[in-house]
């Protein structure tokens, strides 16, 4: 059973007008495309607006559309506990991908954003602690990108990996504790 579409689109479009794109409803969830520079404002609006109150961030994930453009996407899934409905927000990002962090809106965004950074190299500006989360520090490349081989690159620990040099991307967010 799908959730009834609930969102008052007029209210959103009135506030953000031309800057956002309304993709309609897909399998019971309303979808909006928001430019990266508006994402924090849009999230805060959805969270604080008394009519929506999307206070629960379900998930943030990265998507790689290689070789299409714009190559990357950050997808946010929000849930409203008072109104029992969901919404999906998409941010289309170029290469290198960069989007403001929403950790200031929901604390739970912290690890979701670290995961997207680790797997796709999406840089969340303003994130308090953007380190790799699954891969070890010093790992090169972003493993879930479509151009990263499934078996990884060949080296002395991975004799079955793909030939070719690993991509050299500066991992700017290596910071050890404390």
């Amino acid at each position: 059973m799908s959730v009834e579409p609930f969102l008052n689109r007029a209210l959103i479009l009135e506030r953000f007008g031309e800057t956002i794109e309304d993709l309609g409803t897909a399998h019971g969830i309303d979808v909006f495309v928001v430019p990266p520079e508006k994402i924090v404002e849009f999230c805060r609006f959805l969270k604080d607006q008394p009519e929506f109150r999307f206070n629960f961030l379900s998930d943030i994930c990265g998507v790689d559309h290689y070789p299409g453009t714009p190559r990357f996407e950050a997808v946010y899934h929000l849930y409203s506990l008072p109104n029992r409905c969901r919404v999906r927000i998409k941010c289309r990002l170029g290469d290198p991908p960069e989007v403001p962090s929403v950790t200031g809106v929901w604390r739970t965004a912290n690890w979701h954003e670290r995961e997207a950074w680790d797997m796709y190299g999406i840089r969340f500006t303003g994130h308090p602690d953007l380190r790799r989360i699954y891969m070890w520090e010093g790992f090169e490349g972003f493993p879930q990108r479509k151009d990263f081989p499934l078996k990884g690159y060949k080296d002395k620990l991975n004799p079955f990996g793909a030939e070719g040099p690993p991509p050299t991307q500066p991992d700017l967010a290596t910071r050890d504790i404390p």
Binding site: A26, S58, D59, R86, W106, R107, N110, W111, M135, I177
Partner: protein, 404 residues
């Protein structure tokens, strides 16, 4: 007579102390898997905690992009390995939404019944493991006895004790075997008294209560802000259960209560799970009562395997169908879906983007344990190192699911 020398400290000089960094894990019995917590300690007080995860990272999402939809079921088993039927169910529902189909009613009843058995099995472990972390070993040995009964039931239906790979897109793999109902009725008769036994073991145990009550308190606001879900969130007084609020499968036909507690401490989280097992028992009993007859797989040769395997040996069409599905899988229409279910640990969501091919373009798993583990940043009243163990145990993270 020995002379006692009194150790004195010169006036005005502070006690020589420095902060200690302690590695808890990755191999430690109370981290329930390979979790490493880097703790900054001041004496016995925890000043800062930094969880390091990823020791079990298998790249489930990346692997899924190169598998057909049917091949992904075994991957989902390995997320929360204590309750694989729930994970299978979550994935099956997501793909079915993309295809625009629904499983037959009988299949839905069986899936729900298995998912609730899995919930009991998952909650049973934490019922025993949290007291064990705090020094009360006995309960764990008893819960294993009941878990074994559930394992037997799972084995009977699916052929496997742990990695069941039980659901299929559009139904389930096989119908219930003969002799299943007497066996599960026997379990239904025995189990409620056993829950009472665990309670009698633990709820008046002063040490257990002292170590859990008022420890690791999470307010409702904090819990929502940190993204907690499932029993962890309900223990903080938030009345939200996906089974009731966004009913999937046949949950809207069943009568059950959503357990909430207001304290938000370790004991409330433990207590919530114990009470949820009772509700799961009620759901299972209703499923047995209402279990309809009928097919257990959709009648769509392009999606479902032939029901009668014997036909594959004597019918050309069935052979082609079987070969086609095994070798190439089935195509799923272009689109994207996010579908979440109430897994034992919380909201288990699958976000699937399909590009129209037999393999998903992107599959994201919203793993509840991954998010729940972040609560270690939000707990209050857990200043001592020993309290950290209680908090970890009560949050019940399964590391296989955290690391995906």
């Amino acid at each position: 007579m020995t002379e006692v020398t009194e150790l004195t400290r010169p006036e005005g000089e502070a006690l020589n102390s420095k902060e200690v960094l302690l590695n808890l894990g990755p191999q430690h019995p109370s981290t329930h898997g390979v979790l490493r917590l880097v703790l900054q300690l001041d004496g016995e007080y925890v000043e800062r905690v930094d969880p390091h995860i990823g020791y079990l990272h298998r790249g489930t999402e990346k692997l899924a992009e190169s598998f057909t939809y049917t091949q992904i079921f075994p991957l989902t088993d390995r997320l929360d390995y204590l309750c694989p039927p729930s994970n299978n169910l979550a994935f099956a529902i997501a793909v079915e939404k993309l295809l625009g189909i629904e499983a037959p009613i009988r299949a839905q009843y069986i899936r729900v019944m298995m998912a609730e058995l899995a919930r009991i099995s998952g909650h049973l472990l934490i019922t025993g493991a949290l007291p064990m972390d705090l020094g009360a070993m006995t309960a764990l040995l008893y819960v294993m006895r009941e878990r074994e009964m559930i394992m037997d039931l799972l084995e009977m239906v699916t052929g496997a004790r742990m990695h069941t790979s039980f659901c299929r897109v559009g139904g389930i793999r096989e119908d219930l075997p003969d002799g299943f109902f007497p066996k599960i009725r026997e379990f239904c008769d025995i189990f409620p008294n056993r829950i009472r036994d665990y309670e009698r073991l633990l709820e008046d145990n002063r040490v257990f209560l002292k170590r859990t009550q008022g420890i690791g308190v999470l307010s409702a606001e904090d819990a929502i802000d940190l993204g907690l879900s499932g029993p962890n969130l309900r223990a903080s007084g938030v009345d939200w259960d996906i089974r009731r609020d966004e009913p999937y499968e046949i949950y809207d036909r069943l009568d059950f209560n959503v357990i909430t507690r207001n304290e938000g401490d370790c004991y409330a989280r433990w207590r919530c799970r114990v009470d949820e097992m009772r509700e799961s028992m009620r759901i299972i009993e209703q499923c047995i009562e209402q279990m309809p007859e009928g097919p257990f797989q959709v009648d769509m040769p392009t999606i479902a395997f032939p029901v009668d395997k014997e036909r594959v040996h004597c019918s050309m069409e069935a052979l082609i169908q079987h070969f086609d599905l095994s070798a190439y899988g089935f195509s799923v229409p272009k689109g994207e879906v996010y579908s979440a279910i109430e897994a034992p640990k919380g909201e288990l969501g699958f976000y699937i983007i399909s590009d129209g091919s037999p393999k998903p373009f992107r599959m994201k798993v919203r793993a509840p344990s991954f998010v729940n583990l972040q609560a270690v940043f939000g707990v209050t009243n857990a200043r001592y190192l020993a309290d950290m163990i209680a908090v970890l145990g009560s949050l019940d993270p399964v590391m296989a699911e955290v690391d995906k």
